[in-house]
């Protein structure tokens, strides 16, 4: 299984922060997001600005995802205060 975490506006749009998806052969970060957007259509409009991470490191869309990985999707960061 692949554990997926969603944060901030994505978490609210999907209505949940963590979910598990089946790992399939040749899966990429991009493919995983396609799957998520089909499952949670409210994520689609947020898609253009978001970032992905695999195992707590920033990922490229073409990076592969395998069984046991932790993947996260989130909007641009805004921490740090003023």
């Amino acid at each position: 299984m692949i554990t997926v975490h969603l944060f901030a506006s994505l978490r609210e749009a999907a209505g949940r922060g963590t979910l598990e998806l089946e790992a399939v052969e040749g899966l990429t970060v991009h493919g995983l997001l396609d799957q998520l957007c089909r499952q949670y259509p409210r994520l689609e409009p947020l898609r253009p600005s978001l970032r992905g991470a695999v195992n707590q490191s920033y990922a490229d869309w073409g990076d592969s995802v395998s069984d046991g990985d932790e993947v996260a999707f989130f909007p641009p960061v805004s921490g740090g205060g003023p």
């Binding site: 944060f7 901030a8 991470a53 996260a72 909007p75 805004s78 921490g79 740090g80 205060g81 003023p82």
Partner: protein, 138 residues
Amino acid sequence: MIQLVAGPIDAAAVIRQVQSPAAGAVVTFDGVVRNHARGKAVTHLFYEAYDDMALKEMDAIRTRSLEQFPVIEVAIAHRVGRLEIGESSVLVAVSSAHRKDAFEACRFAIDTLKKTVPIWKREHYEDGEVWVEEYAGG
């Protein structure tokens, strides 16, 4: 040296972490919750973090600061959860032999943190709330 905290940041404790007999300067950046944004009155803020990755990215900033500037130590504490007006959301402390290096490294650390550390801010107003997803500088 690197921490996410749910309660008030203990600034004195963060500063103590960078103190050294070899340091001639300690520079700190204190990010404070202000009462307005985008022309609206802000009542409070809520910060959400991807904890594991945020700590990893903050640690990477500390390492890069130590590599790129002749500084002695770097400490970063970031708040999560609900924050009231006037509270500190982030504190960066840097020590160095001479002040110029600590100023430069402190600026590098806070500027990089705003771009790379997965922490999100939700602004709350009298009439609603919004996730701030495009940091415009300041």
